[in-house]
Symmetry: C2
Subunit: 357 residues, 2 copies
Amino acid sequence: MTERPQAGAASQDDRAEVTIHDVARLANVSIATVSRVLNGSNPVKGATSSRVLEAIESLGYVPHSGARSLIKKETRTIGALLPDMFGEFFSEVIRGLDQVARNRRYSLLVTCTHGDMESAEAMLRTMHGKVDGLVILSSELEVHAGMARLLKRTPAVFLSQVAGSLEERFDSISVDNRGGALSMVRYLIGLGHARIAFIRGPENNTDALQRLEGYREAMAANPATRDCVLEAQGDFGEASGYRAACRLLKASPRPTAIFAANDDMGIGALAALKDQGLRVPEDISLAGFDDVPIVRYLTPALTSIRAPISDLGARAAERLLTVIESGGSAQPRQQTLEVLLVPRGSTCPPLSGSGGQ
Amino acid sequence: MTERPQAGAASQDDRAEVTIHDVARLANVSIATVSRVLNGSNPVKGATSSRVLEAIESLGYVPHSGARSLIKKETRTIGALLPDMFGEFFSEVIRGLDQVARNRRYSLLVTCTHGDMESAEAMLRTMHGKVDGLVILSSELEVHAGMARLLKRTPAVFLSQVAGSLEERFDSISVDNRGGALSMVRYLIGLGHARIAFIRGPENNTDALQRLEGYREAMAANPATRDCVLEAQGDFGEASGYRAACRLLKASPRPTAIFAANDDMGIGALAALKDQGLRVPEDISLAGFDDVPIVRYLTPALTSIRAPISDLGARAAERLLTVIESGGSAQPRQQTLEVLLVPRGSTCPPLSGSGGQ
DNA sequence: AGAGGAAATGAAAACGTTTACAAGCGTGGG
DNA sequence: CCCACGCTTGTAAACGTTTTCATTTCCTCT
């Protein structure tokens, strides 16, 4: 007889898990009735219901989500696959995700891939079965084979555009990177700048590439700037922005404006410019991209492109839940969110006749 | 008939979940053997094992974690309860948590309480059963009754000191807030400052309170500073730091140094000082607390107290996993992590004879 | 060569839910 | 007065694993 785990155990052992059976026993009903009260799936008489509720409360019963997911085939959890956790950008995304998830009574599982596709696939494997769907902020361009197969079973929304042939097959939500970069460069040109340098993001990052594209397109479209294209490689981190700015300053003639592909690099560049004894914006203008909350507190405050970051997370979660709840019948859709140029103190017209050193 | 979404689907319908039974059938073994191969729990003959592995690979089988957790009574997931997701601080903590978790093959569930204890308890309830343990970065001082009960069943590690009578009953890992504040104030006094103002953090936040305590203690310990105590209330956000600094500047005589209880408020204060036309550090020194990565890129770089933030997360995760794996037999332990004063450009001796405005 | 084990495998019972199905039980219409 | 029918409730079968126990297989030692 294995039926009675604790012989003679009285009412409530605090350590042991309390199951639906304990509740049923205490309320003098069957486990089915308890389940019905919990889920509101079938009508239950008022008196019974409150007896059950009372028992649940007094025992501190919480349903075992594993058992539930086993039969309902849903975990009520969504997963987020992020490349990394540095900077303010990712916490904003998570904030958006969490907000929507909690509203819809989902939990949020997060993990970082560290930009490594090997481990991304491993994480995907771990998450599969723990989540009903995924939000993927992939830093890589390619969705490779192993991933694609896992993704057949788990709905996913990408947070930057999926490249190439697979684009049509996945949901994605991204910001208008190209458009944002275009308008920033046009704005700088409008101020009178011609020698506008660009600090690029990681080479295999879609967002970074689209911003680069926008920069190049705007520069090429104007006779005055066409021959002034000047680029330095960065990796979206502050330190790389610092170094890139130092390299750009060695050009002769020196650029009159620097446009960093994201704010973190812009912050690094700002430090570099000041360390070199340059005044911003009088001696050189500086602009970033993303408009993370902190840049308005820099001196000078950084001109940037406002990407609705936490909104990005929120929308991704919304969309994902829609797809999940549609049971996979939803057509993949690619959304692009508008961005907004926010001019601040770090940009101004170049000193007339400034010819660099 | 809604049973067959794709009529005529032959062997492998990509949508349907593949279970251990499918693998067993394909490999011509029993499900028990498959399980053994998966867990390495019992010896399995080489040939059989590889046949099973092959089947798993070809079917893309991933075990259902719900079913597993049902019987093993573990979810291999840990939860993090954060007050919010603003600023760089929390993403650093998450980074530390994630790193340890992934190494030990755990997943990480995160959620924000938004400082609201009602919802904190609700989240706790949601998480209970989805996680094996919790890391709680509670902004509130009190662990109230409902929470305490949930916490009896789920191991938890607090990321700031638990206040009062309950302290001994919970694991906690915190930084030496009081010591850090003490050494910062002593450092400023050592530079020759006397009128050192303090920007306080949220009133009900343990970390903030301990930092305040350190400030007051250091100020009181010195005859020269004893009567110069000057405080303004903030909430750890940049904007509140900006406003607090503005208020402090109205004091007469004006403080020669401002010490913000965290870096975010320090960043806001820096913007305020510059907006008021003050030079930092010549006219007024400024210091922060936490040493989030970004402050070294400010101009001037912010003097701060380096708290090992991501380490905090990592250690919390380590400790939690230890507690979990000990099966609840581990004695609660309170750890305090050392901090380090990092002097940078934002602090210097006061102008001799500076008598305020 | 036969027995005695060790090694490898299979059968079946759990784990805690949800839910299809059946059953109890008043009630009202024929 | 009996039957059909709602409304509520209980019974039992899933769900996909792990694990105990029993069984088979195969080797090794006398």
